[in-house]
């Protein structure tokens, strides 16, 4: 059985606001399936004595002190933005969503 369906890929594309054609859906579903199946093979070797992990290194509690460090300037911050105005990032309006 496929690890990811064509419908799931279409759903994820919608959530990511990516315009994916019908043809691309078939293509990506196939490619993503290969990736997911490969990753899923890890589960075959993970025995009960191996806890699931979200990290490759067994560390906890890495913190920084609450001390201010230098920021970017406004100009620097906006330098990579496709568009800006009034010192702010300019983005197209987002429909049907409110903060």
């Amino acid at each position: 059985m496929a690890a990811i369906s064509r419908e799931e890929v279409a759903h994820l594309a919608r959530l990511s606001r990516l315009a994916v054609t019908e043809q691309e859906l078939d293509q990506f579903a196939g490619q993503l399936d290969v990736i997911l199946q490969s990753v899923a093979r890890i589960g075959d070797v993970a025995a009960d004595d191996i806890p699931p992990t979200s990290h490759s290194v067994p560390l906890t509690n890495i913190y920084r002190d609450d001390v201010v460090t230098p920021c970017l300037t406004q100009e620097e911050a906006l330098s990579g933005a496709p568009d800006s105005a009034e010192g702010r990032f300019r983005v197209p309006r987002i429909l049907d969503e409110e903060d």
Partner: protein, 497 residues
């Protein structure tokens, strides 16, 4: 649009049982953001408190702020929560430009604090609000919608985004659903948020000001017929004051009862509280169910608070508001019930400060819980925003104690202070108020009153002292209320003895 007439609140409660739940966001008052060293000061030029981490630039890595973790644990402890021995941050993925990373770093199924409670008292009755979880996340940026008629997103053609706020540590406190409150639900909601605010303020981890957005509240409300299962809930956002928390729950109960009685089903939605009208309006309509695709944040290592550290933080918690109230009630010589009224009116600190400025407990309480509470209520503002400082109240009561003002004049002076005419002394000066203490002038007024009322004067000479009241009244009239009634009475009796 249905045209079903809205029931009264009493009617709604007579037929339905409300269940409420509250989600409160508190912006922590740390020096720096949650995952980077950018400052958190309010009011800076847009996008000047940002760096590669909070802008989500490629390759930038977050590191958690120890002070924010500590503050969250302290909040959890103060809310009687268990502190998770091990938990992780999670990515909440969504497509909206208020976070430049395309996700918000939050916590999902592993919150830092769980299973607490807050007890609130109303009219001597205790209500327990159980806390489901307290978790840590980051605040979002601020969007300015351009091109729309009202500055809101509807009709806007584009948005301008400032990321200074993005990444400021935010603590979310979620209650369990609270059933069984009946008609008390709106009051309990307000009392809970008030208590929460006071607890967090006592910890000194946030300035918890709702009006300025450092404390924000979302209110969930549902109704069911007695004996039925809980109804579908709505979530009301944009509730920006303590008073609004109560109003939002109340108006949502009325609205839902109207729909249910009219045969309309409630559907789960986000609504927005309208400060001006006091009701709620529909918010965004979600075509698809929310799908945030949470997963553990791979760029941050797990948080595993050392038990000794947690014990240390617990031992070092300050005096919490409920304990402080009990202590102050005893110091001020008032009952627990009266103390609760003081607390509910938001007057504890105001009275404390007034006492610190030299007034007796009774004198301070009289003003804040009497005249000033009445004024605050009339103009629909919090007591602290009524326009008078504790120092001014102390000055006013001082003048009363010295006999320079009587109660009636003091109220007039207060009116002037509220109107922004300055300190009590300045108002007295400007308005020409103040008790006539010049005995010469008073004696003249007394003689005049005696001459004008020979019958009454005769009665008093015959020993009917009670008749003096009429003459006191006459003197007060000629002095336009600016005499001290007690002094006047003494003068009259001395003249006619």
């Amino acid at each position: 649009m249905t045209t079903t007439a809205l029931p009264t609140y009493e009617d709604a409660i007579a037929h339905y049982e409300p269940v409420i739940g509250l989600e409160t966001h508190v912006e922590l008052g740390t020096n720096t953001k949650m995952f980077c060293g950018c400052p958190t000061e309010f009011g800076a030029e847009p996008n000047t408190q940002v760096c590669p981490v909070c802008l989500g630039l490629p390759g930038a890595l977050p590191v958690a702020n120890r002070a924010a973790i500590e503050a969250t644990i302290r909040i959890g402890l103060a809310l009687n929560c268990d502190i998770a021995p091990w938990c992780r941050m999670a990515r909440k993925n969504y497509f909206y430009p208020d976070m430049p990373k395309n996700f918000q770093t939050s916590q999902y199924d592993e919150p830092l604090c769980v299973d607490g409670y807050v007890d609130v008292q109303i009219d001597g009755e205790t209500f327990r609000v159980e806390i489901e979880r307290v978790h840590l996340e980051e605040d979002t940026g601020k969007s300015l919608h351009v091109g729309g008629a009202t500055g809101r997103i509807h009709g806007a053609t584009e948005s301008l985004v400032d990321y200074n706020r993005a990444g400021i540590p935010l603590v979310e406190i979620v209650t369990k659903p609270v059933p069984g409150l009946g008609a008390r639900a709106p009051e309990v909601a307000k009392a809970y948020v008030t208590e929460l605010r006071d607890i967090i303020r006592s910890l000194d981890v946030s300035d918890v000001r709702m009006e300025q957005g450092s404390m924000r509240c979302d209110v969930n409300t549902s109704l069911n017929r007695p004996g039925d299962e809980w109804g579908t809930r709505t979530e009301t956002k944009n509730v920006n004051s303590l008073r609004s928390v109560e109003r939002a729950v109340r108006s949502e109960i009325i609205r839902q009862a109207g729909l249910l009685t009219g045969g309309t089903r409630i559907f789960q939605e986000t609504r927005h509280f309208q400060e001006t009208t006091g009701d709620t309006r529909p918010g965004r309509s979600k075509e698809t169910a929310t799908d945030y695709r949470y997963f553990p944040e791979p760029d941050l290592v797990p948080i595993a608070p050392d038990t000794a550290w947690v014990a240390e933080l617990k031992a070092a918690l300050p005096e919490l508001p409920s304990v402080k109230r009990a202590r102050l009630a005893e110091e001020w010589g008032i009952s627990a019930l009266d103390m609760q009224s003081v607390a509910n009116a938001g007057a504890i600190e105001l009275i404390e400060e007034t006492i610190a400025a030299g007034t007796s407990a009774a004198g301070a309480r009289k003003w804040w819980m009497g005249e000033l509470a009445r004024r605050a209520n009339e103009s629909g503002v919090e007591l602290a925003a009524v326009g008078v400082t504790p120092a001014q109240v102390a000055q006013l009561q001082g003048l009363v104690d010295e006999g320079k003002l009587n109660d009636k004049l003091a109220r007039q002076v207060l009116e002037g202070v509220v109107a922004g005419e300055g300190d009590p002394a300045a108002v007295i000066e400007a308005r020409g108020l103040g008790v006539v203490s010049d005995t010469g002038a008073l004696t003249a007024a007394v003689d005049e009153a005696i001459a004008a009322n020979p019958d009454i004067a005769a009665k008093i000479r015959d020993g009917k002292v009670a008749a003096a009241g009429a003459l006191v009244g006459a003197v007060m009239k000629t002095t336009r209320g600016q005499a001290d009634a007690k002094t006047v009475r003494e003068l009259i009796l001395a003249r006619l003895s």
